[in-house]
Amino acid sequence: MSSLRLTAASLVLACSSMAPLFAAEGPTLVIRNHHFEPEEVMAPAGQKFKLIVRNEDATPEEFESKTLKREKVVKGHGEIVMNLGPLEAGTYDFVGEFHESTAKGRLVVR
């Protein structure tokens, strides 16, 4: 949506005094051998951002986080984007539901 981009652009303008600037793209998670890489990603508090999950395994995975209220399937060799935030500072755990014993990670918001 262009309105979103506009919002992102105005945010960038508004925060231009603060460096480094937060890109509109946001953090990226890669799934490899049923593990998230990295297992910890950072995001800014109080603003919207996108979380990208790229699956490099051949098997599908379901990104799931109770605290983030998200559940989304990533096909094998697929990629998804999630619109998140604005979030309060804190740690938000997530798992890959299809391989819950290995695929674990957390999003640190501050």
């Binding site: 979103l4 379901e62 990629e79």
Partner: protein, 277 residues
């Protein structure tokens, strides 16, 4: 195998409960089995197609195609259920009163069972495509072998169906006098729950504001992912830490449907074709 069964069970449960409620609510209706079965079949076919185009759908509309699709599917189901509730309010009493077999059949023929069929189909569609992707992934990766796949998949499916059956026969124990009041209420809360889910997807797509995250948080007491939590989520839309907009959609749907039902109840009372009660 057990892990596969649990995942399949989770995906199947919501659809199984919706099918159960629809079956109960349409008790005594002609050809309801055919409508429900047709809905399931169409839902499965749709799931296959959806699984095939999952990638393209996920990447559509700047990555929120899946969320928007889910939201619209849910809203269509909400519309169909509301229609059915209002129709039943308008004609349910006449139907129960009308001893004339022919009159009953004519009324039954007009009952929007196809609406319920669509609701069933859409419920299967939403969970089915995820399930197909999951199972297909297992087959292609040969994780744990085919035995685990069929054993786990079959077990999960069976458990989901079992919960539906238990609910169905539990409902069937309700005396007939209250039966349709209960199923009517169940449909009403189901509708509200689906509307709230639609709102959640629209928030995920960034089309609606969340209006406050976590209006309450009962995830310690009754996690949504627990068995009871999941059953309540499917039946009455229980969410352990809802956004403000979910609560708003939930209450709004209840109020709006209630209002429409009251309106038709008033307008259908002075029906000249009928003897008084």
């Amino acid at each position: 195998m057990w892990g596969i069964a649990v995942i399949v069970f989770r995906e199947v449960l919501e659809a199984a409960l919706i099918i159960t409620i629809v079956m109960a609510a349409s008790r005594g209706a002609q050809h309801r089995g055919r409508w429900v079965f047709g809905g399931v079949l169409l839902g499965l076919l749709g799931s296959l197609v959806l699984a095939l185009i999952a990638d393209r759908l996920a990447q559509a509309v700047e990555g929120v195609g899946q969320e928007l699709f889910n939201a619209w599917v849910l809203l269509v189901a909400v519309g169909m259920l509301t229609w059915h509730s209002v129709w039943m309010q308008q004609h349910g009493r006449e139907m129960a009163r009308d001893m004339n077999q022919l009159g009953r059949e004519v009324l039954e023929g007009q009952r929007p069972l196809h609406g319920l069929s669509v609701v069933v189909g859409l419920a299967v569609l939403r969970e089915g495509s995820e399930l197909i992707l999951f199972l297909y992934g297992l087959v292609s990766a040969e994780e744990g072998g085919l035995m685990a796949l069929f054993g786990g998949g079959g077990l999960g499916l069976l458990l989901g169906a079992l919960v539906g059956l238990v609910l169905y026969f539990g409902l069937a124990k309700i005396p007939l006098r209250y039966f349709f009041s209960v199923t009517g209420l169940l449909i009403l809360f189901l509708t509200a729950g689906l509307a709230a889910q639609a709102a959640a997807f629209l928030v995920e797509a960034d089309w609606l504001p969340a209006l406050g995250q976590g209006v309450w948080d009962t995830s310690e007491w009754l996690p949504e992912k627990s068995l009871i939590g999941q059953i309540l989520h499917a039946l009455v839309g229980y969410v352990d830490h809802p956004d403000g907009i979910e609560v708003l959609f939930y209450i709004g749907t209840l109020l709006l449907t209630h209002l429409m039902m009251r309106m038709v109840a008033h307008s259908s009372r002075p029906n000249p074709g009928h003897k008084g009660a």
